[in-house]
């Protein structure tokens, strides 16, 4: 686990803040004067996980860099809802070029900073899953391979949302999208397809690869902060539910994200130099069904019940649990 969970009674470090903890043990998000890198007035949907994830991550970067930060953004929901002329929601220097080049643009920013000797300013590149695992993959791999001093953050909402919910290489098995419709003999996205980008990133041997979720803020912030303490190419993959594309209740964005983690479908782990070094254990394991049933994009698995598919998805979760040892006994109570 990337951070020492404080098993203080009441809510410990599970909540955003906790008045019973020392200031320093609360999250950046709990601070009254947090920086709100992505400010109000943006046009994200109600309950957008990506908007939340971006503020979570970038506020932590701002904190870690004393606001010496430049962000590069791929085309996608985050870019579109944050910066439609004439209003921008960003409080940080921010550059959007095109859909598939954010990692390279960020490499360029980093190179310019190196050339100018301004290495106190740090660079973050960010994009959706489509920008990351699909169209920008070449640039991303290049950035990794050169070990450029860039933190790349992927906000994984598991489809091309900005264009109206089409399948990406990160769309999960059997999920409905507008290009993997719930019709035919195997409704939704086929089984056993798609890319596991964190593992691919690890294969580049870069200093840090981590997965995170909007459902575990302490974990997310710790990983981001750690990433900013390292030079070189770093990759953080954040799971961000999209109520529109997942057909879930906007109020349940965090809940859905939490169940993805708790079911084992979205493992939280950390890898250094290509080797898994840490994982965040599941707190209260749940069957994948509990996660799937909240999302309309999996509705066809329940009416009528598709036992085979449900079992196959459960097997995927079980495999993660096994692979990353997500079910250790919790350490004893107390601090």
């Amino acid at each position: 686990m990337s951070y020492q969970r404080i098993k203080f009674y009441q809510t410990g470090t599970f909540t955003v803040g906790n008045r019973l903890l020392e200031e320093g043990e609360r999250t950046v998000q709990a601070q009254k004067d947090r920086t709100n890198s992505l400010n109000s007035g943006h046009r994200a949907c109600q309950g957008c996980g990506e908007a939340l994830g971006a503020r979570y991550a970038l506020d932590a970067v701002m904190r870690a860099t004393h606001n010496q930060l430049v962000a590069v953004n791929a085309t996608g929901c985050l870019e579109v809802f944050s910066s439609p002329y004439p209003e921008s929601a960003w409080q940080i220097p921010w550059l959007h070029s095109v859909f598939g080049n954010a990692p390279a643009v960020a490499s360029g920013v980093a190179a310019a900073l190196r050339a100018k000797g301004k290495t106190d300013i740090r660079v973050v590149a960010q994009g959706g899953d489509g920008a990351t695992v699909d169209i920008g993959f070449g640039c991303l791999s290049g950035m990794f391979e050169r070990n450029d001093d860039v933190l790349y953050i992927c906000y994984d909402n598991e489809a091309y949302m900005n264009t109206g919910v089409q399948r990406s290489g990160a769309t999960p098995a059997r999920a409905w999208t507008n290009t993997t419709q719930a019709v035919g003999t195997e409704p939704g996205n086929p089984m056993n397809v798609g890319k596991n980008l964190p593992r691919i990133a690890m294969a580049h041997g870069i200093p840090l690869v981590a997965t995170a979720s909007v459902a575990d803020l302490h974990d997310l912030e710790t990983k981001v902060t750690k990433a900013m303490s390292i030079r070189g190419a770093r990759y953080i993959h954040i799971h961000v539910p999209c109520p529109l594309g997942w057909k879930s209740d906007p109020a349940e964005t965090i809940k859905v994200a939490r169940l993805a983690v708790e079911s084992g479908l979205f493992p939280l782990f950390e890898a250094e130099g290509g080797v898994v070094t840490d994982r965040t254990p599941i707190r209260k394991q749940v069957p994948v069904e509990q996660y799937l049933v909240l999302q309309g994009r999996f509705e066809h698995l329940f009416s009528p019940r598709d036992e085979q598919a449900l079992a196959a998805i459960q097997a995927m979760a079980d495999r993660n649990i096994h692979l990353y040892a997500l079910l250790p006994t919790e350490p004893a109570m107390g601090t």
Binding site: V70, P93, L95, H96, A106, G108, A111, A115, S141
Partner: protein
Amino acid sequence: MKQQIEGSQAVAQAVALCRPEVMACYPISPQTHIVETLSRKVKAGEVGNCQFLNVESEFGALSVLIGASAMGARSYTATTSQGLLFMAEAVYNAAGLGLPIVMTIANRAIGAPINIWNDHSDSMAMRDAGWLQLFAEDNQEAVDLHIQAFRLAEELSCPVMVCMDGYILTHAFEEVDLPTQEQVDEFLPPFEPVQVLDPQDPVSIGAMVGPEAFTEVRYLAHHKHLQALEAIPRISQAFQDIFQRSSGGLLKLYHTDEAETLLLALGSVNGTIKDAVDDLRAKGWRVGAIQLCSYRPFPLHALRHVVHNAKRVIVIEKDLAVGNGGIVSSEVKLALQGLPTLVDTVIAGLGGRPISKAAVIDTVKAACLEGLEEPHFLDLNWVAINRELTRQAEQRRSGPTPENLLREVGSADWKTG
């Protein structure tokens, strides 16, 4: 200092003298010697603190420069042909964002069929991307235009392509007068960006713009090019003041006064054309030549002014607007709208086919005496074409045209690269 040097090496030296801060490159013939030289120079510490990135694609290369330039760094790359098309989205984007990147285009044909030799199809494909496009006649001019390009780009906050003919220039050893660092420093002030990514003064660059402002944004891009029409000659003059030689500008004229027939072309073919003009003039033909040095912005008024007394302009161009004809000639026609001047299109030198002085002379004569069909393809092998057309008409599965033609012309040993 004058020296015998390969065009690519000379350009690399010139670029290095411009104190670039970030370069990102991806190899493609015939640009390779430029980037190889620069990579060595950077690694040897000869280019200050410049960062040289070996990237994964041309798209990546230009994207790196978009980031670097937005961060306020002087940025450079070189490419050609397939590489330029591969970066196309970023090419438009760099211009849209107004980032003053300088890029050498070692002009080369575009496949299929894959062809590594010179023509202008590549930069023509990007002619509306918003970049300024300057064409060099020889390696001296290539060197000089690069130095001017940085000043021009940064003054206008607009990217510039310096186009030089692949192999013909890039790989030619010629005498080139390479400037000194002092001269370049005197001519080229440090880069002061109009916008920059700065944590002290944050801005959001690259907004999404809707119908309410998009036309205005595009007009402003156009306006930059109109400003360039004034800036290019001024900067060329400033260059002459320091370097004591004339280079660049919008148009370069050769015996255009009193000429009835004017040849117009871009790039290195102007050398051949000038020789042909000399020969023809010696025989009493009233011909002259115009080198279109700035293709973007297109100097409509300057051209009209030069041409307005001529009877005929023969545009020799190394490109083809398939389905239409001449790209450059269409624009020349636009410049001459309303004048009685005839405009001929001569498609020549595609995929590296040599343009001989004799062919130019024959073409001028033919045009003046019989007139040319529109467009006119120089040296077209009609025998091969007719046979292929017949074959295609006879059988559905006629096979791939390029290979068939190669067999026709009997030179299957043409290199590919």
